[in-house]
């Protein structure tokens, strides 16, 4: 803890240096025209404008964009988790499910979720559903992969222990295999949240009528680099906030997984 504090200035330094260089090339030396790289002050101004209810140039406030994006991301993510985790667990535990699902899954897994977008737009239009479906796909895949790997880590001797105590197959799954897998399952929840958020923003760049990705896209068309940077910043902050929240939950619920 003490060491962390001692070197905090290094982290502060890097942020200050980046801001300094940015200020230098814009306001001070004017190496970059402001329509390509606005000054930090201009970005802050745009941020405050959007935050306090400004609707130009994309027709909605920052809060509306954030709420659209979050709704889609969390909707698709939740569906991905609810389907993906049990599916991964079932595949790892039941040989027949594995044999049945694996070929399809292996074929679909390398397809980037974004490659689904054209087809999904054909099916669902550019509204809510198409994007939820993209997020669902990207979240589900990470959940399946991690839950599967987690269950496969179950030690044979633990299964024997449970068997000699007369535990049924289902009891062994729930009381031995899933606790073993829990840290991995949690890793899956985290990575899939990250990939869901990234897939969402990309999906909104392509097909959208609101949302953070849409805001960035509109800003590009209007030549508003300041809004683009505001959008990127907000996406970054929300992404790391979400992963931070999951980390905290993880510390609370996974700390016992420790040694094997």
């Amino acid at each position: 803890m003490k060491r962390k504090k001692k070197y905090l200035w290094l982290s502060v330094l890097s942020v200050c240096a980046a801001l300094g260089v940015w200020e230098l090339v814009t306001d001070i030396l004017q190496l970059m025209p402001s329509y390509m790289l606005p000054s930090p002050a201009a970005v802050v101004e745009a941020f405050i404008y959007k935050l306090t209810g400004g609707v130009n140039p994309d027709g909605a406030t920052l809060w509306q964009h954030i709420s659209t994006s979050l709704k889609i991301a969390l909707g698709g993510y939740t569906a991905g988790v609810v389907i993906g985790v049990p599916l991964g667990i079932a595949m790892a535990w039941y040989k027949k499910v594995d044999l049945f699902v694996k070929p399809l899954f292996d074929l679909l897994r390398p397809v980037p979720p974004l490659a689904w977008i054209p087809l999904l737009i054909l099916w669902f239009g550019i509204g809510y559903s198409a994007k939820v479906a993209v997020i669902f796909l990207s979240a589900m895949i990470a959940c399946v992969v991690n839950s599967y790997a987690g269950i496969k880590q179950t030690r044979q001797v633990h299964i024997w222990v449970a068997q000699t105590f007369g535990a049924s197959d289902l009891e062994i799954l729930f009381r031995v295999a899933i606790p073993t897998a829990w840290p991995m399952i949690f890793t899956g929840l985290k990575t899939s949240l990250g990939s869901a958020w990234m897939a969402l923003v990309a999906a909104e760049l392509l097909a959208s009528t609101s949302g953070l990705g849409y805001m960035i896209q509109m800003a590009r068309q209007m030549g508003r680099a300041d809004i683009i940077i505001v959008g990127m910043f907000v996406i970054g902050v929300i992404g790391s906030l979400m992963s931070g929240i999951l980390d905290l939950l993880g510390k609370k619920f996974v700390h016992r997984g420790g040694s094997k």
């Binding site: 222990v161 105590f165 007369g166 040694s259």
Partner: protein
């Protein structure tokens, strides 16, 4: 002490082979037959890595023999059952459960109520000397303490037979002596039939009512020794040393 006369577990002509990666077979268990009496402390003693664990797994029902049968109370053993508790070589505790969680796992799996399971677990936790450690996780315990939990856990599902597969093999010598002493104390307090596998002659002689000497691969019974030394035993007692020497001589394949 004389073993009670009632036979509880019986193996007849057990054999087991495994397939090597290249497809050839190797036999780890020859033709093994013996009976175990109620409340007897039987030690299966033999050199090397061969056959003993396999034999114990057959007795537990965790593996099936190629030939022969295992019978418990006259009934053939086909699957693992709570009546045969196992203490494993490496600690096989569940790392995500506390000591209490581990020990009460058996009774819970057998459908006992939570209160009853905890009450029973508490009794055996106290018996193995871990009072006060109920809420510790296995990785917070030393190796010896972990094996105490393993013993309490095996006891807690109230088995008729306890199968122990070199439970002290990974402990340092000092802890090992202490655990052997402890095991005898626990066993004398809570008598069960114990079948104990080891490749350590001192340990075998310290614990056994009866000792079965197995050969190396494929394992067959070479000789049987009733061990009538009084308990608690002394590692440097002349009779103890004499037996030790005799059995060691028997192990020498040149004989």
């Amino acid at each position: 002490m004389e073993p009670a006369s009632q036979v509880i577990l019986q193996c007849e002509h057990l054999s087991r082979s495994f397939r090597r990666p290249d497809g050839s077979m190797y036999q780890v268990l020859g033709d093994v037959s013996f009976s175990v009496h109620e409340n007897e402390f039987l030690v299966l003693f033999g050199p090397g890595q061969c056959g003993k664990t396999t034999l114990l797994k057959l007795l537990a029902g965790l593996d099936r023999p190629d030939g022969g049968t295992v019978k418990m109370n006259g009934q053939p053993v086909a699957a693992p059952a709570p009546s045969r508790g196992v203490v494993y070589q490496t600690t096989a505790l569940f790392p995500w459960m506390t000591v209490m969680g581990n020990v009460s796992f058996g009774p819970l799996a057998q459908g006992l109520s939570k209160e009853e399971s905890r009450r029973r677990a508490q009794y055996f936790i106290d018996l193995v000397g871990l009072h006060g450690f109920e809420n510790h996780y296995p990785n917070q315990l030393s190796g010896g303490m972990q094996q105490r939990v393993g013993i309490a856990r095996a006891y807690c599902s109230n088995p008729q037979v306890l199968l122990m597969d070199e439970p002290f093999g990974h402990l340092d010598a000092q802890t090992r002596y202490m655990m052997e002493e402890e095991l005898v104390r626990i066993w004398q307090e809570e008598k069960r039939t114990v079948i104990f596998v080891t490749n350590n002659i001192e340990e075998a002689l310290y614990l056994a009512d009866r000792l079965i000497l197995l050969t190396d691969c494929p394992a067959v019974i070479r000789r049987e020794y009733p061990i009538r030394l009084a308990r608690p035993r002394d590692y440097v007692d002349p009779e103890f040393l004499h037996l030790r020497q005799e059995i060691s001589r028997q192990m020498d394949p040149a004989q």
